[in-house]
C-alpha cells in the first residue's frame, strides 16, 4: 500500500531516495536544500536499508564520492543548490564521460555568485547545455510538485541505470521548501552484490579470472578512440531524445495562445491559464517535464495552432531559446519572468500575457 504524507519537497525527495533502494548519499549543506541531508541524517537509513549517508568536507568531495560509488555499480546520489552545483561541475563532466549512473538534485536559488537563498530558475543553461566541459548531456527532470520530487528520485535512478548517464533533478527553492500531500512508494530493496555483478557488468566489483579488468575512466589519449567514444555518447543522447521526452499539456486542445513553463513557474502559469480562461481567452499550458530531452516536437506542433507563445521562467529568459528553436519564426515567442529570488504572482503572468502576446 502506498503511504500518504504531508512533506516538504526536499524531505519527499530524501525519503523517496531511500525507498528507491539508494545505496549512498553524499552531500554538503546549503540553503534551500539542507533538509535533504537533515532528513536523511534524522531518518538513519543505514538502520532501515543499509544506505550510507555522509556529509562530505565539500561539494567537490561529495560529487567525487558519487563518482566512486557509481563506478562500483551502486545507486548513489547527491544534492545541492546553485553555487554548490557549480562546484560539482567538474565531477559531473567526469561522470558523464565515464558513463556512470547517478542522481543529482539541484534546488535552485537566485544567482549569479552567491546570489540569494530564494527560488530561481536561472540554472537552465547550466543544466541543459553542459555545465561542465566537453560534449555531454544530462537527463534533466523538472518536478513541479512535491509528488514529483518523490517520483523523480526513483525515476532518476531508473533512467540513470538504463542509459548509464547522470540524471539531474532540476528543482527550485519553492518546490523544495513547500509542503504538499505525497504518496510514497513502497521500499524497493537495494541491489545485492550478485545483482550488481549481473546487471552492471562494467562496474568495478573485483576482477574474476574469467574476465578482463573493468576500467572506469573518462580519459582516452588516443584521439581516434576518444572520437568513437564521443560518437557513441551522441548516439545515446539521440536515443534518449527518442525515448524519454516527457511533458504535460494542460488545456492545449482548443488553445489559441500558449504558455510554456516548467517547475514552480508551471504552477503559477496554471493558475494564470484558469484566470485567462475565465476572461474568455483560450490559453493552454505546455509543461516540459524533461528539459533534456526537450519536448520540441509538441511545441512545434502547437506553434501551428496558436497565435502567440509566452515562456514563463524565474530567470532573464533561458528556456525561451529552446522554445524559439522549436517554433522557428512561425509565431511570436516572448518571455516573462522575475529574477533575484522573486516569484511572480499568477496575476503578473496574466498581465504579461495581455501586454506581450494577446494585445502585443
Amino acid at each position: 500500500m502506498k503511504e500518504l504524507r504531508l512533506m516538504k519537497g526536499n524531505e519527499a525527495f530524501a525519503e523517496a531516495a531511500i525507498r528507491a533502494g539508494a545505496d549512498g548519499y553524499f552531500g554538503y549543506p546549503i540553503t534551500p536544500q539542507s533538509e535533504v541531508m537533515e532528513y536523511l541524517m534524522a531518518e538513519k537509513p543505514h538502520e532501515r536499508t543499509g544506505m550510507v549517508v555522509l556529509q562530505a568536507e565539500s561539494e567537490v568531495a561529495a560529487i567525487n564520492m558519487v563518482y566512486g560509488g557509481a563506478a562500483c555499480g551502486k545507486r548513489v546520489l547527491t544534492s545541492s543548490s546553485s553555487p554548490g552545483i557549480s562546484l560539482k561541475q567538474e565531477g559531473i563532466s567526469y561522470i558523464a564521460g565515464a558513463e556512470l549512473p547517478c542522481v543529482i538534485l539541484n534546488v535552485v536559488r537566485g544567482g549569479p555568485g552567491l546570489g540569494t537563498i530564494q527560488p530561481s530558475q536561472s540554472d537552465y543553461f547550466q543544466s541543459t547545455k553542459g555545465g561542465g566541459h566537453g560534449d555531454y548531456k544530462l537527463i534533466v527532470l523538472a518536478p513541479s510538485s512535491v509528488q514529483e520530487m518523490a517520483d523523480f528520485a526513483r525515476l532518476g535512478f531508473d533512467l540513470a541505470f538504463k542509459y548509464r548517464n547522470p540524471v539531474l533533478v532540476l528543482s527550485d527553492g519553492a518546490i523544495g521548501q513547500m509542503m504538499e500531500k505525497v504518496e510514497l512508494d513502497e521500499q524497493r530493496p537495494r541491489f545485492t552484490e550478485a545483482e550488481i555483478i549481473s546487471n552492471t557488468p562494467w562496474a568495478t566489483t573485483g576482477k574474476t579470472i574469467d574476465r578482463e579488468r573493468n576500467i572506469v575512466t573518462s580519459l582516452d589519449l588516443d584521439s581516434g578512440k576518444q572520437e568513437l567514444h564521443n560518437l557513441a555518447l551522441q548516439a545515446k543522447y539521440r536515443e534518449i531524445e527518442h525515448n524519454e521526452t516527457r511533458y504535460e499539456a494542460i488545456s492545449c486542445d482548443d488553445a489559441e495562445y500558449l504558455i510554456v513553463a516548467y517547475g514552480t513557474s508551471a504552477r503559477l502559469s496554471q493558475k494564470a491559464v484558469d484566470l485567462l480562461r475565465a476572461e474568455g481567452y483560450k490559453v493552454g499550458l505546455l509543461r516540459p517535464i524533461t528539459l533534456f530531452p526537450f519536448p520540441s516536437a509538441i511545441i512545434a506542433k502547437l506553434a501551428g495552432q496558436v497565435k502567440g507563445i509566452l515562456t514563463v521562467e524565474m530567470s532573464a529568459g533561458q528556456m525561451i531559446e529552446d522554445v524559439r528553436l522549436a517554433v522557428g519564426c512561425r509565431v511570436k515567442v516572448e518571455h516573462f519572468g522575475r529574477m533575484g529570488g522573486i516569484i511572480p504572482s499568477p496575476t503578473e503572468v496574466v498581465e504579461a500575457m495581455h501586454t506581450k502576446i494577446i494585445g502585443g
Binding site: R5, Q118, A174, M179, Q270
Partner: protein, 184 residues
C-alpha cells in the same frame, strides 16, 4: 471549495506549525493542500509567514497574491497583508501589539485576543491553536475529528500527551473570536 489563507506573524509564534496542522488536517480529510513558507532573510529577521491552500480540487499555484483569509499576528504583517485580502474576504488579527488597526471596509474583520487568553491560562505555547480555533469557527473547512488526526500527524509522538491541551485551546479560540466589522 478552495480556501487560500495567509498566516503571518513573528517567528516563534507558531505561524508555520499552525499552518502545518491545518494542512495536515486537510490531508486527513482527503483534501488537496499546499503549505508554502517564507524562508528568506525576512524569516531570519524575525517575521514568518506561510500560505496554506486547502481545496477539493488539484491546486494550481501554491503561491497566490490575494487571499480568502488573512490571519495576522503582528504590525509588520498587518502593513503587508491587509491589502491582500480579497474583497468580501476575512481578516483575523490579534490586537495585542497592533498599533494601526485594519481600515478596510470591503472585508469582514475579526479580532481574537489569543495572546491574552493563552497567557491567562498559562499556556503561551498553545497561542497558535487558540488562533486556529478562531479561524475554524468562521471557516469550518476541516472537521474536528480530522483536526485531531492532523495534530497526531504533525506533533512528534513524544508530544502526543499534549493533544488534549491543544484541542482545548482550539475550543477556546472558537469561543473568544469577535466580529469587529462585518459586511451586510
Amino acid at each position: 471549495m478552495t480556501e487560500e489563507i495567509i498566516i503571518a506573524g513573528f517567528g516563534g509564534q507558531g505561524v508555520l506549525s499552525m499552518g502545518k496542522i491545518l494542512a495536515y488536517s486537510g490531508v486527513m480529510e482527503n483534501k488537496e493542500v499546499s503549505w508554502m513558507p517564507s524562508y528568506g532573510p525576512e524569516m531570519r529577521g524575525g517575521t514568518a509567514n506561510v500560505i496554506v491552500i486547502i481545496s477539493d480540487e488539484r491546486i494550481s499555484s501554491p503561491i497566490v497574491n490575494y487571499f480568502d483569509t488573512a490571519i495576522i499576528l503582528n504590525q509588520q504583517s498587518m502593513d503587508k497583508f491587509e491589502k491582500t485580502v480579497k474583497p468580501g474576504g476575512v481578516l483575523i488579527y490579534d490586537p495585542n501589539g497592533i498599533t494601526r488597526h485594519p481600515e478596510r471596509r470591503d472585508i469582514n474583520i475579526y479580532t481574537i485576543e489569543a495572546a491574552d487568553e493563552a497567557s491567562k491560562v498559562g499556556l503561551s505555547k498553545v497561542f497558535n491553536m487558540v488562533v486556529l480555533g478562531g479561524f475554524l469557527k468562521l471557516k469550518p473547512i476541516v472537521q474536528p475529528e480530522y483536526v485531531h488526526k492532523g495534530l497526531e500527524k504533525s506533533l512528534p509522538r513524544r508530544h502526543h500527551a499534549l493533544i488534549p491541551e491543544n484541542e482545548k485551546a482550539i475550543q477556546k479560540g472558537k469561543e473568544i473570536i469577535k466580529a469587529m466589522h462585518l459586511l451586510n
